[in-house]
């Protein structure tokens, strides 16, 4: 027997094995990318987004995926720095060849990353970013599931005026697109209702001593203060507003209802009103499933960031099911024309990629829990 025929025998013997493995690898993974801040001042909020996102992926995979193809979620740390977020998205799109993107948390980072998504013609779902201009740029690959600051302001301005019990409003916001647009749009909405904006203080996200800004606000003697801050800044703001004995009514967007926030400030956070995209107590079957899964997986209630992460990936996984294939353009079209049931109700998109149809909340912190004071349905924007 020659050597060659021995090789041939080995080949024939192993052929079935090779075939078997190659058949099983026909069940491919669908790669989806997420650009989330995992380091830096909003790392804790980013971690919540990821927790939520993982659950949506788990739901999809446990239900059998797309004809057996499972989703693999690939995460890049954008740190809420636009340049780093763009680099993360580039890597996900060029090296990992993801078919859809989620991210990038901070509006400034989303604004930079959405251009990369457009270049690669890959749909991107933004869950947190509320700066209104993002959906005004004619980028057909961007879908925003969050109500913009403008929508929230329009929805709740009359109620805010009623609660404030006076006309003078001050703004105390973080220095990025989100914070600045809150100052801009809440000011416009509230002023239409007869309010008067007395001062706008803009602080940097890395700053720890906000006494100077709070002193400025105090001098203006406002009836109400509107704030925008994620966990770290929200904790600092709350502590220091209390230390400086500020008596104005406090309103906020951001992480003023996060568990980490309550853990850090305790009862000092009570009495603050939040304009929220999500509350875990909302009565809705999708939310019930989500809250149960979340509690089981992480032992705590989900906050608005976790819900946004869950919803971002739910929209992508639904679109993949609807499209019946994991191709970017098909997923984009399925997102654009579809309706998804999310934790805050149904969500559809207008031609600019702005989501609507869901419920938003005005909450008040009582005993370190958000209690719903008012709700509003986000109508289709023009």
């Amino acid at each position: 027997m020659s050597k060659l025929s021995f090789r041939a025998k080995v080949l024939f013997a192993t052929l079935p094995l090779m075939l078997a493995t190659s058949i099983s690898s026909f069940a491919e993974t669908i790669k989806i990318g997420a650009v989330i801040p995992m380091t830096g001042p909003v790392a804790d909020d980013g971690a919540a987004v990821l927790k939520g996102a993982k659950l949506a992926v788990k739901l999809f995979n446990d239900a059998g995926g797309l004809n057996g193809d499972k989703i693999e979620l690939l995460v890049e740390d954008g740190a809420c720095i636009p340049a780093q977020s763009v680099a993360g998205a580039e890597k996900l799109l060029s090296a990992n060849k993801v078919v859809a993107l989620a991210g990038a948390f901070c509006s400034s980072s989303t604004g930079a990353t959405m251009d990369v998504a457009l270049r690669y013609k890959v749909p991107m779902v933004a869950g947190i970013s509320t700066a209104p201009n993002l959906t005004e740029r004619g980028n057909r690959y961007l879908f925003r599931i969050q109500a913009t600051s403008q929508m929230l302001a329009d929805a709740f301005a009359p109620k805010m005026m009623e609660i404030a019990g006076g006309k003078k409003v001050a703004f105390l916001v973080v220095n990025d697109d989100w914070g600045r647009s809150i100052a801009q749009y809440y000011k416009a909405s509230l002023e239409r209702g007869g309010a008067q904006a007395v001062t706008t203080q803009i602080f940097d996200t890395n700053e720890t001593d906000l006494f100077s800004y709070i002193t400025n606000v105090k001098r203006a003697e406002p009836d109400a203060i509107m704030m925008a801050a994620n966990t770290q800044n929200a904790v600092t703001l709350t502590e220091q507003l209390r230390q400086m004995n500020v008596k104005s009514k406090l309103f906020a967007e951001g992480s003023f209802t996060a568990k980490s926030y309550y853990d850090a400030v305790g009862k000092k956070g009570d009495g603050i009103d939040g304009l929220m995209a999500y509350v875990s107590s909302f009565d809705n079957p999708v939310n019930k499933t989500f809250v149960d899964m979340y509690k089981e997986a992480y032992g705590e209630l989900p906050n608005n960031n976790a819900s946004a992460g869950f919803e971002e990936l739910t929209i992508v996984t639904n679109a993949i099911k609807t499209a019946g294939k994991a191709e970017s353009e098909a997923i984009r079209d399925a997102i654009a024309s579809g309706t998804t049931q999310g934790p805050s109700g149904e969500i559809k998109f207008n031609e600019k990629g702005q989501g609507y149809g869901f419920t938003v909340f005005l909450t008040r912190n009582e005993n370190s829990k958000p209690v719903v004071e008012a709700t509003a349905l986000i109508a289709k924007p023009n």
């Binding site: 995992m38 380091t39 830096g40 001042p41 790392a43 804790d44 980013g46 971690a47 220095n175 203080q201 803009i202 602080f203 940097d204 890395n206 700053e207 720890t208 001593d209 006494f211 100077s212 800004y213 002193t215 400025n216 105090k218 001098r219 966990t231 770290q232 904790v235 600092t236 209390r242 230390q243 400086m244 004995n245 980490s260 853990d263 850090a264």
Partner: protein, 287 residues
């Protein structure tokens, strides 16, 4: 005008923390000629050690304070004996790169061990603000002022009136000559590094009761410390303290004029100082 004392006080408290961090940085730079970009991480680690000791282990604040400072000093000694000894005599760019790498490593280590969630060190005092002469403040902030004053006095006495202090000053002026007359340079380096790290840790613990403790807090502290050192004069202890207070006050008053550009005020000051007093406010000629 009623608010002016409030701004002065705000500025002084922040300035004291800048000063405490910068004094260590300037000592290390002056003595060892190493620009330590990981200095802010000692501040961060001080805060985390104290958080861990008081909130998890259950020590009281003051014991936690002392143990945290000693812990960071020990880490400083280990780093000085290993990494920084290798960097001695290396070019400035090598030491900058190595210490930046160290800072990234330590920050991510903290992120890994303690997570991204902002934490607080429980204050040893009753919480809540106090008011005197129209100025709102808290006991923690007063402690910061007091601690800095105490450190300034101790440093002054230590440097002027002890044998070691004189040796440090001699080495500052002329390293080779100091070695020639029998000063143990290695021992001085270790000591200075440990003190610098310890002061940063002290600032971290004290500020951890006032603000929040986060892995990323070290980077911004390093940046501010370099601004302070440039302002006050490289390798000048008094300059480090004066620079810290000047920067703190400038930022506080900058917040009245242009709140969104508060941080820019510090850097404009640095540019002006570099234009008109290139050696810093209290610096000696640097060769």
């Amino acid at each position: 005008m009623d608010f002016i004392p409030q701004y002065v006080f705000n500025g002084l408290v922040v300035g004291c923390s800048y000063a405490l961090i910068a004094v260590g940085l300037t000592a290390i730079f002056g003595l060892m000629e190493i620009a330590n970009f990981a200095h802010g991480q000692f501040y961060m680690l001080g805060a985390y050690f104290s958080y861990w000791l008081t909130r998890i282990v259950g020590l009281d604040f003051w014991t936690g304070l002392v143990v945290s400072i000693i812990g960071v000093m020990l880490l400083g000694i280990i780093l000085e004996r290993t990494l920084f000894r290798l960097l001695r005599g290396a070019s400035l760019s090598s030491s900058v790169l190595a210490t930046i790498a160290l800072s990234i490593f330590l920050e991510n280590l903290a992120l890994n061990v303690w997570g991204p969630r902002p934490q607080k060190i429980l204050s040893p005092f009753e919480t809540g603000g106090i008011e005197f002469l129209g100025v709102f403040t808290t006991p923690d902030r007063l402690l910061m002022l007091l601690a800095t004053a105490l450190i300034v006095i101790l440093l002054h006495i230590g440097l002027r009136h002890t044998q070691t202090g004189k040796a440090i000053r001699a080495t500052f002026q002329q390293r080779e000559a100091a070695a020639l007359v029998g000063i143990d340079i290695d021992r001085l380096y270790t000591l200075t590094f440990a003190i610098g790290a310890g002061l940063a840790a002290l600032a971290g613990v004290l500020l951890g009761t006032i603000f929040v403790v986060q892995p990323s807090m070290g980077g911004i502290a390093t940046l501010k410390a370099f601004v302070v050192v440039t302002l006050g004069g490289i390798s000048s202890f008094a300059g480090g303290i004066a620079g810290g207070l000047v920067l703190g006050l400038a930022e506080s008053f900058g917040a009245i004029i242009a709140p969104a550009y508060k941080d820019a005020v510090g850097f404009i000051l640095v540019m002006l100082v570099l234009l008109y007093r290139p050696d810093g406010l209290l610096g000696k000629k640097w060769s």
